[in-house]
Each structure stands twice: as C-alpha cells, then as structure tokens.
Symmetry: C2
Subunit: 319 residues, 2 copies
C-alpha cells in the first residue's frame, strides 16, 4: 500500500462492530481511525436522548464497557433504576447509574444547540479515546420495524419485546432528509484514505441505516481506497443479537454469502470465517478467510490485522 495512506474509516453498529473497532484502534496510529456509527437505534426515553451504538462504541474504545452484558458500563450500579421503579417510572430500558451520565449530558448539550457530532467528539476526548467516533448523520434517523404487532421502534422491539415479534418490514424514518456527516464524506474522499471497513454488525439495521443516508453509498463507490467487509454471520448464526432471526423472517438467506452478495459492488474484499469459506467460494468477490469470532482482545487485533491486510493487498493488486 502507498505509505502516505494511513487513514482508516470503519462503519459500525454496536457490540460486534465495536469489538473490531477496538482491534483497529490498537493497530492504527492514534487519531487515524474514524468509526462511523449507526444512529438508527437512537431514541428518546425518560426525556433523555439515548444513542445506544455510539455509547457502546465509546465505552468499548475507552475500555469501560460491560463485557458481560455487551451494553452499558463496567462496574455498574443500579440505584437510579431501583428508585425509578419505586416511583412508578418506566424501567424496561435498563439505565445504570454511570451510564445515565452520558444520556443526561448529551440531552443537555443537544438542547443547548450542540450537534451530536460535536458532543460525541468531546466525549471521545474526555474519555481518552484517540479515535474519532462519528455519527452517520446529525439529523435524526429512527429505525422502525414492521411486525405483526404494528410498527415498533427499534428499542421497543429489541429491549422491551426482547426481539420476539416477527419482523416483516424495516423503515429508517427520516433517512431521506438526513444529511450524511460531512466528516464521513471528507474522509471517504481523502487522499490519505487507506481502507474502509464494514464491521461485522447487523447488515439490515446497523450498517443498513448508514448506507441508506443519501450520498453515503455513492461516496463509498467513489472512494479510491478499498472497502473490506467482515461477515457478521458465522456458520449460519449471528454471534449476538437478532441478525439471523430477522433475516430469516424477512425471507433472506441466513449466510455469510448472502451478506457478501448484498454489499457486492462496494467490496474489494470480504473477510469471512474459515467455516464459511466454502459457501462463499462462488461469490464474485475476493474472499479472505479469518477467525471471525472475537472472544479475546487478541482475537480483535488479529481480525483487525486480517482486515487491513486484505485492504492493503487490494492496493498492491491495483498498483
């Protein structure tokens, strides 16, 4: 790869993507990684502006994420929630005492006129995160799921209804009017861009909203740097979350290969687990096998290295 190309952009949802982003942050120079995060799961709860994927990303990159739950902060306490329950408040969305601070402070700053990007950048700095966590847009996009029980907001489906309703439709409300984050567009057009990584997040509701923001798909196609995706399906299963269930209900084949087909024209390479190598063999894509399951910190770094190697290999081929 050309050595002056040192910037990496990653597109990500919450937990799975955050693990890879953490791996990337360990091998990319401090400040050279931009993680563009889905905001389709954002919602208002108890009057607070909650951005679940941004928070998971911030907590993970800051090393203060709760590794048992996969959401929220480590060493969390729940005294607020217990008191709220006593007062008859809505307690289905579990807000820990420490976690609450980010929602309260974000809400205050949004009301004072700061953008979600500005707020997130400041939180990065305060949490000691060298990478840039960037919302896909500063305009509200809200993922809605059409189910047998009507349209549900994502958090209602995901948390309150524990992913039980059958999903028949997905809508990203507001996306048609959303401006893509100019930081993302600038990065995609940047002469120092080394790689774009599509993290192993839910392609429908984590990566999908980012790609649906007007202008993002075209900017990705126009980017000179290679785009490498990591399959979020391993052996026909999603590692965490409702990806597989949702794909099945929508009549989409639950396989790494199918997701490869969907990202199709964007990709210079597609990183899949060794287990899924065979089924991806006849895709019209360069397939890179790797261990896609990230259990340890070393797994994350190893996968990040495989992804960047795949990107760099594309530069070599192109030169």
């Amino acid at each position: 790869m050309p050595w002056d190309r040192d910037l990496v952009v990653a597109l990500s949802g919450g937990i799975g993507g955050a693990k890879l982003a953490l791996g990337l942050s360990r091998i990319v120079e401090p400040g050279n990684l931009m993680v563009v995060t889905n905001t389709g799961d954002d919602f208002e709860h108890l009057g607070l502006a909650i951005s679940p994927d941004i928070d998971t990303m911030l907590y993970t990159l800051a090393g203060i994420d709760n590794q048992e739950t996969g959401w929220g902060r480590a060493d969390e306490t729940w005294n607020f929630l217990a008191a709220l329950t006593q007062l008859g408040g809505e307690d289905w969305f579990r807000l820990g005492d420490k976690d609450l601070a980010i929602h309260v402070e974000r809400t205050r700053r949004l009301a004072a006129g700061e953008t979600l990007s500005q707020i997130t950048a400041d939180f990065c700095q305060r949490l000691g995160i060298a990478s840039h966590v960037v919302p896909m847009s500063d305009d509200p996009v809200r993922t809605q799921l059409g189910t047998g029980e009507g349209w549900l907001s994502f958090q209602d489906y995901f948390v309150r209804q524990r992913c039980l309703p059958v999903v028949t439709e997905i809508d990203f409300a507001g996306v048609a009017e959303a401006e893509p984050n100019p930081l993302l567009l600038d990065a995609l057009a940047h002469e120092r861009l080394r790689a774009v990584v599509i993290c192993p997040s839910n392609p429908l509701i984590s990566i999908g909203p980012i790609l649906a923001v007007p202008g993002v798909w075209d900017a990705l196609v126009a980017a000179t740097a290679p785009i490498v995706a990591v399959a979020p399906i391993i052996g026909g299963q999603s590692v965490k979350g409702p990806t597989a269930k949702m794909m099945r209900e929508l009549g989409i084949e639950v396989s790494a290969a199918e997701i490869g087909r969907r990202y199709g024209e964007l990709l210079a390479a597609y990183v899949v687990d060794h287990e899924d190598l065979a089924e991806c063999a006849d895709l019209d894509l360069r397939i890179v096998p790797a261990q896609a399951l990230m259990t340890t910190a070393d797994d994350r770094v190893a996968l990040a290295e495989a992804v960047l190697d795949a990107a760099d290999e594309s530069w070599s081929r192109a030169l």
Copy 2:
C-alpha cells in the same frame, strides 16, 4: 377543641420544616395532615425539574432522607455524578444516583402534562406517605437573590456559591401570576380544619414565597382555625442554613421576636425556644415555650405535640 376538627395544614420549606412535619405526621391521623411546600427553590438543572423542598419533605416523611447531609436520600451512591464529571458536565449540584430518579421522573411527567401537584401526590402514594405533600402552586415561582454579584437563583446562591454573597434583595419571580394551590385554599376554608402550623423554616425564602402567592395571606387571615408558628431562630442563631446570615445582611434583627412580629396578625400562638422566651415577652402574641431544637425523633414528636396543644388551647379560649 371541637372533636370533629382533625385536619392540620403545615406550611414548610425544606429540612427544618420537614422535621416538624415528620413529628406532626406521627400524631395526626394518617391522611389528615397536609404539608404545603415552598417551590421557590425549584430550578432546572441538566434539563431536569428539581424541587428541593418537596423532595426533602418526601424523603423525610418516607423515612429515606439522608440525616447526615440534611438533603438527598439515605444510603446514597454517587456513580452518576462521577461519570458526569468525567464527561465535563455541571457537577456543582450534587445529584445522587437514587435521588436522580425523582428528578428524571418528575421532568418526564411534567413534560407529559401532569401538574406538580398530581406528580407529588403520586410520589407520596408510591413512597408510602399517608400525609399530603402539596406544592404551594403549580405555577413556577423562582426565588432570586439580589447580591453584590447581581441576581442569583436560589440554588446558585445556596449550593454553588455556598451562601457567601451578601443578599440585599429578594424577589419571587413569577409569584404575581401564580395561582395558589386550590387544595391549600380548600383546606384553609375547611370546616374540619384544626390548626395551621408555620414550620420553623426560613421566613424570608421558605415561608415567604408561600405567603406571597396571591390569595394565600388572605385565606390564612380568613381561616377559622388557629395559626401557630414555630420560631426558626434559637438564641439568635438559625439551626441550619443561611437564615440568620441573610436576615443580618437585609438589616433585619436576627431574633425569634422579630420573626414573631413579622408573622404578627396571622398568629394565634407563637412557639419559641425556652431560651428566647424573655425577648418575646413583650410581643402582642401568645407565646408558648418549648424545646425548639429537634435532634431526635422524639424531639420532633414533642415539638409537634406542643404546637398542636397551643392550637387546641386557642380553640378553648375562643369557645
């Protein structure tokens, strides 16, 4: 006293008043005590609607108050605040994890259209409080203190500036347009009203705002039941808070006698500490000596008994 008169109304600010209210709640039949609480200290902080005196009253009557600090909840934790500090939030007003719930839930309900009275009544029920805690008004009244550093909101003066600025003026912003709580007016006109108690709270900024709500003074004067005040000054000192300092700065004599003169025409009796009996001797008021310092739970009940005895004695004299 006539035996069918069993309702007691108490006017109160925060901590000192809440102690007496707790004593009253122990000797009045459950449900027959109404505590009308100052809302002049209410303010917005971090986007949350905070009602310090109501909360102190609720926590005290529910037995979950923090007896060491005099504000907030017992067995409190501070994880939210520490996380907020880390994110650069405003942390001068110390919000505990448990305490936070009442502000978040109140804010949510106010935004949903409930009145402060409705919300407070529901909180009473949920916290197992048989007495009725009633805000002086559902309209916003905000105590402002004129100081050498300009006008300060009460919490700014009290918490952020630790009562250091010299107070030269007091204004209850919004009070001219505030409707008195109809529950208070109904109670004051009620045929079963036994006594009105003015708790030992700051006469200027705790009881003052209640008396300044249009219609309240007249309704007190018109009430047939005796009004009994308890002196918040003992031996020339305020037990807690800035009462004495503030009176001094405003050129008001710091004495139980002076406060008696100010409540003047309202009072059927004035309960003062034994220590202040002599200086109150020449007031044109019936003076009732008692132990006004409430250190133990028994002290609170004993003072409450002395107050109601003083009220009942007024009935006997009137009959």
